[in-house]
């Protein structure tokens, strides 16, 4: 029951979006849809997604292979470096580039920034797959007379195809839903058009129709993901102990490889770092800057705390159910929660505004409506953590505890809670930190007069006050670095299993 409530929260925005769009009437929808502008937006959005995804696959698979399968010097250092761009929210990277090269705008700069920010989404799963792949298959291919390159294309690339596809779809979803970077770099895509239509034009129907089209595109991508996931099952390894593959000797080729990795890192991390550092002194030394930053940080903290509390409350039953009672119902509930995760923040924000105005007016313009938006956006994140934590206390342990004479409450207190609380706590922290840096939903739903770190950055960037925006950007990078570190530490990239 509780899990159903959690999923209801997750799908309310989606359902509401459908209802409101339908209310506009078929003629109006068709009129809004069959315009050159919608076609143009679709082309731009899909084009951006295609360009960024291809570039990310190239960068992600290439660097993953270099750091996991070759004798590249400093490969563990590069492994961490390749994951770190996750710590830079796209709107901060975009801000850093604009602040470094004034007047930067358009499709290709946006593609560059988004690629540099999101190639870790391909790198991390592919690196993990390369580490986990059974080297025996490559050895068999070699022993059957296939050379190194043929083995790579015919065996290795196919082993990592599910991971690559999953990462690529994640990137594509991410690009479709990204709002901050494209808005700062003034590139017209669906998200920006939705925001502009609503925020500046008060064109509700237009915003709703555009949102619906974006949701449809997202659904299309998600279906693709489900299909690859199903196919991926065929690549599961067949038992056997985990063994590291022999490393490829790069020889003189290691210098261009090193230069390439260093170049990507310089663009992805160096440019934002230098750009922020350059303006930070000027930004901090403005009169009253520290007080403003502190006030915004305080607001971010309160909003993120409320969001994290609500999200965990909803995620607990769903996560426990997913871990303990897997079945068709749980899968459906799980999938629905993930569907909402793929929804762009702009769309979630917009639908909750209409929901607030028309259905739950007392919530409108309060912290709680924004907390609800965070819950919608981050529920999958939290459910994953809870399910992972619950797996730390398998039912077998509880059965043993009961057989030793402890009642249900005793078992919960002495076994289940001590084992699961750390994981649940980590999940709450993750939701909290992610909420701190959320931009589009916060922009749309924050109570009037409440400025957060992300919205202050946005406001200052919009008027070209780069120095004033920099302290917020720097603080946000620090906040985002923490969950990234968690992710890197868990991915096993830091494990010492080098031979």
């Amino acid at each position: 029951m509780a899990s159903t409530a959690a999923v209801a929260v997750a799908v309310v925005p989606l359902a509401y979006l459908g209802v409101r769009t339908a209310e506009a009437g078929l003629d109006r929808i068709v009129a809004e849809l069959w315009t050159g502008r919608v076609a143009w937006l679709s082309l731009r959005s899909l084009g951006l997604a295609a360009v960024v995804t291809s570039a990310c696959v190239l960068l992600g698979v290439g660097s993953a292979y270099l750091v996991t399968r070759t004798d590249l010097p400093g490969r563990r250092f590069f492994a961490v470096l390749a994951a770190l761009p996750l710590a830079v929210p796209t709107y901060i990277a975009a801000f850093a580039w604009v602040s470094a090269f004034d007047g930067l705008a358009g499709f290709w700069p946006a593609a560059l920034v988004l690629t540099l920010c999101s190639y870790p989404y391909v790198f991390l799963p592919v690196a993990a797959a390369l580490r986990g792949a059974d080297p025996a298959q490559e050895e068999v291919s070699r022993s059957l007379g296939r050379g190194g390159w043929q083995t790579f294309t015919r065996v290795t690339l196919r082993q990592i195809r599910p991971a690559t596809a999953a990462g690529a779809l994640l990137v594509a979803l991410y690009v479709l839903s990204d709002f901050g970077a494209v808005a700062i770099l003034r590139t017209d895509t669906f998200t920006r058009a939705i925001f502009v239509a609503f925020d500046l034009g008060f064109d509700r129907t237009g915003a709703l129709v555009l949102s619906s089209v974006l949701v449809l595109l997202t659904l299309l991508l998600l279906t693709g993901e489900t299909v690859t996931r199903r196919r991926g099952a065929r690549y599961a390894r067949l038992g056997g102990a985990r063994r590291a593959a022999a490393r490829l000797r790069l020889g003189p080729a290691r210098w261009p490889a090193l230069a390439g990795l260093l170049g990507v890192a310089a663009l992805a991390l160096g440019v934002p770092a230098v750009s922020l550092a350059r303006r930070l002194v000027a930004g901090v030394s403005r009169p009253g800057a520290l007080a403003e930053v502190a006030a915004a940080a305080g607001n971010s903290l309160v909003l993120a705390l409320a969001g994290a509390a609500l999200t965990m409350l909803l995620a607990l039953p769903l996560g426990l159910l997913t871990a303990r009672a897997p079945g068709p119902l749980t899968t459906v509930l799980d999938r629905l929660a993930y569907l909402s995760h793929a929804l762009p923040g702009v769309v979630v924000g917009l639908s909750l505004i209409f929901f607030g105005i028309n259905v739950a007016y007392p919530l409108y313009q309060t912290t709680w409506l924004l907390a609800l938006a965070y819950a919608t956006l981050f529920l999958p994140l939290a459910v994953g953590s809870v399910a992972g934590a619950a797996a730390q206390a398998p039912p077998g342990l509880e059965e043993v505890a009961r057989s030793l004479g402890r009642g249900p409450w005793g078992v919960l207190r002495t076994v289940t809670l001590p084992l699961t609380l750390p994981g649940i706590g980590a999940g709450a922290a993750l939701v909290f930190l992610t909420g701190m840096k959320e931009l589009p939903a916060t922009l749309l739903l924050r109570p009037t007069g409440t400025d957060t770190l992300a919205t202050e950055l946005w406001t200052n960037t919009a008027v070209g006050a780069y120095a004033a925006a920099t302290p917020y950007a720097a603080l946000l990078v620090v906040i985002s670095a923490l969950p990234t570190w968690l992710l890197v530490a868990r991915s096993g990239l830091l494990d010492k299993d080098d031979r």
Binding site: Q392, P394, G396, L397, E399, V400, A401, R402, S403, L404, G405, R406, G407, P408, G410, V411, T414, V415, P418, L419
Partner: protein, 343 residues
């Protein structure tokens, strides 16, 4: 010291009947092995005993007190039945001493029972270690100590040695049996390893497709199996068609005294390979045979033989090197009596 009695226990999972009317008595202070192939219902039996599952029919009585059946279901934590699962399942966040003390009340935890059972399983002084600092065998010993600590009515061991390698298994098996005996505990060991069941248990219960096929001391199970399936399941068997007549059976190996089938007529006769002796040359009471193969096992060997009429049999011998090579013509005779069932 408690006696456990199961009567007509039935457990179904949807359309699958896992236990199909199990009648079973576990004598107090003894170790009973429940032996069967995978999927025979032995783990379900254990889960029903522990109270993790509710019965669909039948009754379980512990010391004369019904704990399950007839609408009653005493919850696990009030049954005083401790479980040792397959992988030990130590609580990872508790030290060895805290794991062992888990089932004790506060006063007993401060007493010397924890050290007592630790010594019993040969791990004196390990109380401060954490589970991840122990080897697989040591974890299994701690799991047994944890189960013994609260002096339960019954200890259930669910294939506790299957995750360990062969060398370790034999030693641990012996030590744990001694620990149970020294503590006077009643135990049920679930296993699919017939060697394990025969060597450690006081009584063996053979389970097949959710029913008890045979129960008795290990020697009885081995020498007088209830049917040819049990004979083959608990050890190497030579099954021969024969004709019975007045306490003896005419077999391809000559006349052999039989037990079991009293009537005369067609029977199936069981010989164990160790009853078949190979002699270098024919003499009265032997039959000629040809050596087909040698399966060397280190401590002994199985020799495959073919009789003149084409019947294949095996013989167990201790000194493989002294035996005739493959292809050699030898003679065989049979020691002792054979078990016979109407064919």
């Amino acid at each position: 010291m408690s006696e456990v009695v199961l009567t007509g226990v039935v457990k179904r999972y949807g359309p699958v009947t896992a236990l199909d009317g199990v009648d079973l008595t576990v004598p107090a202070g003894e170790l009973t092995a429940v032996l069967g192939p995978s999927g025979c219902g032995k783990t379900t039996l254990l889960r029903c005993l522990a109270g993790f599952e509710r019965l669909d029919a039948g009754e379980i009585r512990l010391d004369g007190r019904a704990v399950a059946g007839g609408g009653r279901h005493v919850p696990t934590h009030r049954r005083r039945i401790a479980v040792v699962p397959q992988e030990g399942a130590l609580f990872p966040h508790l030290s060895v001493a805290a794991n062992i003390g888990y089932g004790l009340d506060r006063a007993a935890r401060r007493g010397d029972r924890v050290d007592e059972v630790l010594a019993l399983v040969g791990l004196a002084g390990y109380g401060d270690r954490m589970p991840h600092q122990l080897s697989g065998g040591q974890q299994q010993r701690v799991a047994v100590a944890r189960a013994l600590a609260p002096r339960p009515s019954l200890v259930l061991l669910d294939e506790p040695f299957s995750a360990l390698d062969a060398g370790l298994r034999a030693g641990l098996r012996h030590d744990i049996r001694e620990a149970l005996r020294a503590d006077g505990a009643t135990g049920v060991l679930v296993t699919h390893d017939q060697g394990e069941a025969l060597s450690v248990a006081d009584r063996v219960v053979v389970l097949r497709a959710g029913r008890v096929v045979q129960a008795g001391p290990p020697t009885t199970i081995y020498r007088e199996p209830a049917d040819p399936w049990v004979a083959g399941f608990v050890g190497d068997a030579v099954l021969l068609p024969a004709v019975a007549e007045a306490g003896s059976a005419r077999t391809p190996l000559g006349a052999i005294p039989i037990t079991g089938a009293s009537s005369s007529g067609a029977v199936t006769v069981l010989l164990r390979p160790e009853q078949v002796r190979i002699v270098p040359s024919a003499r009265p009471g032997t039959v000629p045979a040809t050596v087909l193969r040698h399966d060397f096992h280190g401590h002994d060997a199985l020799v495959g033989l073919r009789l003149a009429d084409g019947t294949r049999i095996t013989a167990r011998i201790l000194d493989d090197a002294a035996t005739a090579p493959v292809g050699a013509d030898v003679a065989v005779r049979v020691d002792g009596t054979a078990r016979a069932w109407p064919a």
